[in-house]
């Protein structure tokens, strides 16, 4: 189940669980000069583990990987943007693209499970089991009071970041999103742009995640996130209903205009495509657009990102915009 392919393009788009772990007695990546020994140690632990895990994983050394290929992995959310510089960084990715183990990110190990829709319990269960398998062969830095020790104190304790990717066009359109961000913040839940900290929302997609990692159990963290996400989801639904009741023509017109541009344009920038695809996603989910597209708007968003469009070839931005328009025209 690839999060952007097998997706019903609902309000909760995808679920991600990330666990941060570090090896005992050696410096964290930011203070570790020679990372080779640590990388090999973790690599061997994964490959020699007494489970089917090693057969399911593909090892990718990011310093041998083209910039474009790495960028594609980042667009698929299988590696974080910080991994893009490639030096001394590598990743294990599961064959079904739901799980990745990043090595030498901010922490020695960042274990991640990403799934379509609302699947926190399932994703956490998988991540937790893989963590148990890793722990059989590795000694993690752990403290009785501070829990799992991480490079940044904002991750210490459980090392757990649980997050949802949510599509919130109606809350954004009605300018209610800032209120949502503020009230979620007061409950210890951060609402951010798509690529994590410091990034802007593209295509009305937001990342909703826990800020507290210490002093709560994993279950409590996930329950809090679920509660807040449910509330945001209900608010988005309400905002959509209100739009439909009060401004039916205006919202249908907006959706169909965007649909029209995507169906017929000959050149599209990445940002323009994301924003128009978001309108179509809204239109489909509200029943304004009845036709089922060849590929969902979400999949089009990922497949039309610069890294996917370029396919390792050196093409100019104009050529990219033309290719993007073509790909979307054929699929939407």
């Amino acid at each position: 189940m690839i999060w952007y392919k097998d997706n019903n393009n609902d309000i909760i788009i995808s679920t991600r669980i990330r666990l941060a772990r570090n090896l005992e007695s050696i410096p964290f990546p930011n203070a570790l000069k020679d990372k080779t020994a640590a990388i090999n140690h973790i690599k061997n632990a994964v490959l020699n583990s007494n489970s089917t895990l090693s057969q399911e994983l593909k090892y990718i050394n990011l310093s041998d990987t083209s910039k474009n290929e790495a960028q594609r992995l980042a667009e698929e959310h299988l590696i974080s943007p910080q991994m893009l510089d490639g030096k001394d960084r590598s990743v294990f990715i599961s064959k079904d693209s739901t799980m990745s183990i990043m090595l030498m990110e901010e922490d020695h190990i960042r274990l991640q499970v990403i799934m379509p829709g609302n699947a926190t319990d399932e994703a956490f269960d998988i991540a937790n089991k893989i963590d148990d398998v890793l722990e059989e062969n590795l000694d993690f830095a752990f403290d009785e009071d501070f829990g799992y020790l991480t490079s940044c104190p904002t991750n210490a304790g459980t090392g757990l970041r649980a997050s949802y990717m949510m599509h919130l066009p109606a809350l954004t359109l009605t300018s209610n999103i800032n209120k949502v961000i503020a009230s979620a913040g007061s409950l210890g839940i951060a609402v951010r742009g798509l690529y994590g900290e410091g990034t802007k929302s593209q295509g009305n997609l937001y990342q909703i995640s826990n800020q507290t990692t210490l002093g709560l159990t994993e279950e409590e963290i996930i329950d809090r996130l679920k509660t807040v996400a449910k509330r945001i989801s209900d608010m988005e639904k309400k905002a959509r209903e209100n739009l439909m009741n009060a401004q039916k023509t205006a919202i249908s017109d907006k959706v169909y205009r965007s649909y029209g541009i995507l169906k017929f344009s000959r050149s599209l920038t990445s940002n323009e495509a994301k924003s128009l695809l978001s309108d179509v996603m809204l239109g489909l989910s509200m029943g304004i657009i009845k036709e089922t597209p060849n590929k969902s708007p979400l999949e089009c968003m990922v497949l039309s990102s610069p890294a996917f469009i370029s396919e390792d070839k050196d093409i100019t931005p104009q050529m990219r915009d033309e290719k993007r328009a073509e790909l979307i025209r054929e699929n939407i």
């Binding site: 410096p27 059989e136 403290d143 009071d145 020790l149 459980t158 002093g215």
Partner: protein, 125 residues
Amino acid sequence: MLFDELFNDFFEDFNMFTPTPQFKEEKKCPVCGRSYSDFRRLGKFGCGECYKTFKTPIISVMKQLHTNSEHTGKIPSKSGHKIKQKRIYEDLKQKLQKAVADEDYETAAKLHKEIRKMENEVKQS
């Protein structure tokens, strides 16, 4: 990141008004060699041992960040046996206190027995 900025700003302001104090021997982490002012400058720790080396100031950092400074989540099963036992022990003690307060002496007696058993096991090991 907010946290880094917080400390960077703090440190910049600090530098503006006072010369950087030259401590003769600032405490350094035995594993990574970093000091607490390195953490304040970078917002990141150098290794796990830093958490033990600078425990006291870190407790207040954690309280600020997470409103709590005690881990209640998962414990690694391999190295965490003792910690798990300790958690169970503390949990039993709390339950005992509650039972006594509620005047539920039957439960209190059972709990007391369990606590004694755990204490004896620790003594023997």
